[in-house]
Subunit: 178 residues, 2 copies
């Protein structure tokens, strides 16, 4: 099981980036997202609407104190913090994939300033390249390695009856299953 923890969501600055983080989590095989910082009902609603329209179940919830929440979670789950200062993901793919399979894996995604405590609480600080880029990209690559690329070919939600995309060489094709 994979839970994403998005730290210190700030309004309005992080509105779109946090939405992209959640949508990538949903599309690439994570199970839910928890966030701290500014409570944002419009963000929560927009993810719920995507699930309603496109299928899947991807709960989003708010925690006021992320460190307290992580410490509690650490009793049972494995915590992986994505940071450009961590150990290269290429060396740890097997571990994180195994952790997600065996129990709960929490992927921590920072914002501008990540408290030192996060580096200490994490079972693994993990880097996706040693260059500054994007938490959205780091999350996508981490989930891709955990899922071993299967997120790209799987049927997203077998039981979902609604809009589905039919891949096309040109243009757009949607079918609606009733």
């Amino acid at each position: 099981m994979i839970t994403i923890l998005r730290l210190s969501h700030r309004l309005p600055r992080d509105e779109r980036i946090t939405t992209h983080v959640a949508l990538v989590g949903r599309a690439f095989g994570a199970d839910s997202l928890v966030y701290s910082g500014d409570k944002d009902e419009s963000f929560e609603r927009s993810i719920a609407e995507v699930c309603k329209k496109w299928g899947g179940n991807f709960p989003v919830s708010y925690v006021p104190d992320a460190i307290k929440w992580l410490k509690e979670k650490k009793k049972k789950a494995k915590i992986v913090h994505l940071t450009m200062y961590g150990l290269p993901i290429s060396e740890k793919e097997e571990n994180i994939s195994q952790w997600a399979k065996e129990g709960e894996l929490i992927l921590v995604i920072g914002s501008e300033k990540v408290p030192c405590e996060i580096y200490e609480i994490a079972d693994l600080n993990l880097s996706v390249t040693l260059q500054p880029h994007s938490e959205v990209a780091a999350l996508a690559i981490a989930l891709d390695r955990i899922m071993r690329g299967e997120e790209l070919t799987r049927e997203f939600d077998k039981r979902f009856k609604g809009i589905k995309i039919v891949p096309q060489a040109r243009g757009k094709k949607l079918v609606k299953e009733e």
Copy 2:
């Protein structure tokens, strides 16, 4: 050679997403970025500053008419449009990797509404999952497949003398080469 075309940059809405697109392009092995929409000197400056601080050469330039630019480019380059309506990337990895190696590959990244013409001009419309998520994530996965994961382990810029990250299990370590 890989060039990214970011369509219809809108201020202030796309400020951070387009910045993430450019940073992912730079970190994951693209060579340059071209964008249309609102001209944004602050964005251009911020990418130039990242290159100065962290190395690499990643030119960002503006084109007023993206379709005209693409049509001109199409005479020599291969054009791949990332869209959730396209053919699955898992089936086309070899092609796009080969195109980037043999000549110029242009990766087109849309914004909210992509004109129909883009689907027609593209040599390939390519999907990264059939779900809505993020152009930042789609770009990261496409570049990862083109680079065959080598972007995660390569030395970023061999000739760069400046700040470099030394991967750590905990905390942050930077070295400055003079």
